[in-house]
């Protein structure tokens, strides 16, 4: 496992739906990586994790390394990129339209 390096965002899965969540700047969980709060200090991020990891709301809270370019936040590892964008990015249309389902 690569050593964790800042900047990072805080991510988790929603307890009710399992959906990928990010801790946002307005102190609530959001579903888009682009809306996540970015932390340049791992210590600060860890403190925030302790404060927001409410087991009645989220599970599997973790710090996720990102790259920030202007307003664009991108996951550094492809696993997190897939978590952020969802499966099926290679989906091809079916000849009957709608038969392909892996989305």
């Amino acid at each position: 496992m690569a050593r964790l390096e800042a900047p990072v965002v805080i991510s988790a899965n929603c307890l009710l739906t399992g959906a990928v969540m990010y801790w946002g700047p307005k102190s609530h969980w959001c579903t888009n990586l682009s809306e996540a709060e970015v932390y340049d200090d791992l210590g600060v991020a860890a403190d925030v994790v302790s404060a927001v990891a409410d087991p009645a709301v989220v599970i599997g809270v973790e710090l996720v390394p990102v790259k920030v370019s202007g307003n664009i936040i991108q996951a550094r590892h492809y696993r997190e990129a897939i978590r952020a964008s969802g499966p099926g990015s290679y989906v091809l249309p079916s000849k009957t339209g709608g038969a392909h389902v892996s989305v």
């Binding site: 307890l15 492809y78 009957t96 709608g98 389902v101």
Partner: protein, 550 residues
């Protein structure tokens, strides 16, 4: 098919009520996630990358049209309108909400289905030949024994916390279509003193340390089967390693103990489990067998079938690829490909599921099967009905004539879904299927099996071509193995060398197939036969772009 009785139904109702209470307590905060996780896993509820996933067992791959329709209803009501059929004869729903899972399990119970023991260190879904009861080469129908084992292993009080998960497969044909030697226990029905007996293979498994199972007990009588299974699993339960999950499977124990010592311990155990098995289990087998009497199929003239074979090339091609001879000459088994080119292998929409259920009702005695190759089978279809079946399948994108060809590949969910995966496998499969569509007939029978991590759910070790996706310094990397085989002569593929990026992999496969077409002895020599004849070296050279003198 096995018919649930009142006991079975009451058992499921109680389990659903128990689980509903567990979910309520988790949501109220009475249970922590740490306490709840093993409880949900015991009911098949995983947390994957993007959502929860519910894995539902399709015991020995057999389901009724009513059950298939019920799965379609679940997919639409509580998921995203599709299901994913797996390599272990399960169906997975990839997007259920936790709060809905008790209702889904209740709906499954109404269908006489469940998700019990589809996770955890227990005995998992017992799998078998998808052509059971229909195959020409079948010696005995394995399904009654599979159901018997299912009943013995479900909620078995001793075997809920084994060192690791435990998989059993059973086969009753001359050919092994259940990959029994890649299972913790593989059972093969053979002729015996009382009609049938079992050869018991132990210690097979793929994953991090792939091992081909060894025949440890031969000619075990039917009455001695459950005592043997109980003894084998008990010895494993006692001695299997619990300190290292990578060394916890029975294959590692068997290697560590040695086969003779293992056998001796099993035999010793057999001496004192007589009181567990008093013979009543044999009357239960008799009851089960009544539900699996081979169907008396009425004679049917071929009629329209022969006409259409002569006049319709698309129908002829589909029959050649997707239709298997049946023990009754007027019938055949139809394999419905869930591998339309570019489709995620094993996925079916709710509409497709209903279409397949309708076909089974109309033409197939309401019975369907799921193969470990992630396709659906209607086992008993009259030849005369095949034109109508083909016509209806084509309306649902289910008529792809590719069984056994390169696009009929199997792939685990990989990193598109799975929390354990180290690389994606579905997109690799989709790309391969599209890329070689135009030459797949030319390439002929060829199995590609893709796993997105070392756990090998895509069975990559036993493919003609195995592809294993790994994370190499933060980049997806795909290792290739060649020469794997499933069946009674199961062989593990040979790892070729350094892995490829996704783009490099496709170019490497281009060169590999060029080399095969150049080297094959005749146009009917399969890829596997050519690799066996010449060894892997010329193909390895092709993969890495090295010129070869052959």
């Amino acid at each position: 098919m096995y018919r649930y009785n009142d006991f079975d139904r009451e058992f499921l109702r109680e389990r659903v009520a128990q689980y509903r209470d567990q979910v309520a307590r988790r949501l109220s905060g009475a249970l922590t996630e740490e306490e709840f996780k093993p409880l949900r896993l015991m009911n098949g509820v995983y947390l994957q990358l993007h959502a929860y996933m519910l894995r539902v067992a399709i015991p020995y791959g057999t389901l009724s049209a009513r059950q298939m329709r019920g799965l379609a209803d679940i997919a639409e009501r509580w998921d995203r309108g599709y299901g994913h059929f797996t390599t272990r004869q399960n169906i997975q729903f990839n997007w259920p909400k936790l709060v809905d899972t008790p209702d889904i399990l209740a709906a499954l119970a109404d269908l006489d289905m469940h998700a019990i023991q589809t996770s955890g260190n227990t005995i998992r879904n017992v799998t078998t030949d998808h052509l059971a009861g229909a195959a020409l080469d079948e010696f005995a129908d394995p399904r009654p024994y599979a159901e018997w084992i299912r009943q013995w292993s479900t909620d078995h009080p001793e075997f809920q916390f084994l060192p690791r998960k435990f998989k059993i497969a059973i086969s009753g044909g001359v050919s092994d279509r259940a990959v029994i030697r890649a299972h913790d226990i593989g059972l093969r029905l053979v002729p015996g003193m009382e009609g049938v007996a079992f050869d018991i293979y132990v210690g097979g498994g793929l994953g991090r340390t792939p091992v081909v199972g060894t025949c440890v007990f031969k000619q075990v009588a039917v009455g001695d089967l459950l005592p043997h299974l109980e003894a084998i699993v008990s010895v494993y339960n006692l001695h299997g390693r619990r300190d290292n999950k990578y060394k916890a499977r029975i294959k590692i124990l068997l290697q560590a103990m040695g086969i003779e010592a293992f056998k001796a311990e099993v035999k010793d155990y057999l001496q004192h489990n007589n009181d567990v098995f008093d013979g009543s289990e044999l009357s239960e087998l008799t009851r089960i067998q009544d539900d699996f009497q081979l169907r008396a199929l009425p004679p049917r003239e071929g009629g329209a079938y022969w006409q259409q074979i002569d006049t319709d090339p698309a129908f002829r091609e589909w029959v050649t690829r997707n239709v298997t001879p049946h023990r009754h000459e007027d019938y055949a088994s139809v394999t419905i490909s869930l591998k339309a080119h570019g489709q995620a292998p094993g996925d079916a929409t709710a509409s497709q599921m209903r279409a397949m259920a309708d076909l089974a009702d109309q033409f197939g005695f309401s019975e369907l099967r799921l193969s470990h190759q992630q396709n659906i089978v209607i086992p008993h279809v009259a030849l005369a009905d095949l034109p109508a079946v083909f016509d209806q399948l084509s309306q649902w994108d289910l008529d792809t004539p590719n069984i056994g060809l390169i696009s009929d590949l199997i792939a685990c969910p990989g990193m598109d879904y799975c929390a354990l995966a180290t690389a994606r496998s579905i997109p690799i499969g989709q790309t391969i299927a599209m890329r070689y569509q135009s030459i797949e007939q030319l390439l002929g029978p060829l199995s590609i099996k893709i796993s997105g991590c070392i756990n090998a759910c895509g069975h990559h070790h036993v493919g003609d071509i195995g592809i294993l996706g790994l994370d190499k310094a933060g980049v997806e990397n795909y290792q290739v193995t060649l020469g794997g085989r499933s069946g009674l002569d199961t062989a593990l593929g040979e790892k070729m060398g350094p892995g490829f990026s996704e783009g490099e992999l496709m170019h490497a496969l281009d060169r590999l197939f060029d080399r095969y077409l150049m080297l094959r002895g005749t146009s009917s020599e399969t890829f596997a036969e050519t690799v066996q004849r010449l060894g892997t070296e010329p193909f390895k050279a092709a993969l890495y772009g090295v010129e070869h003198a052959a």
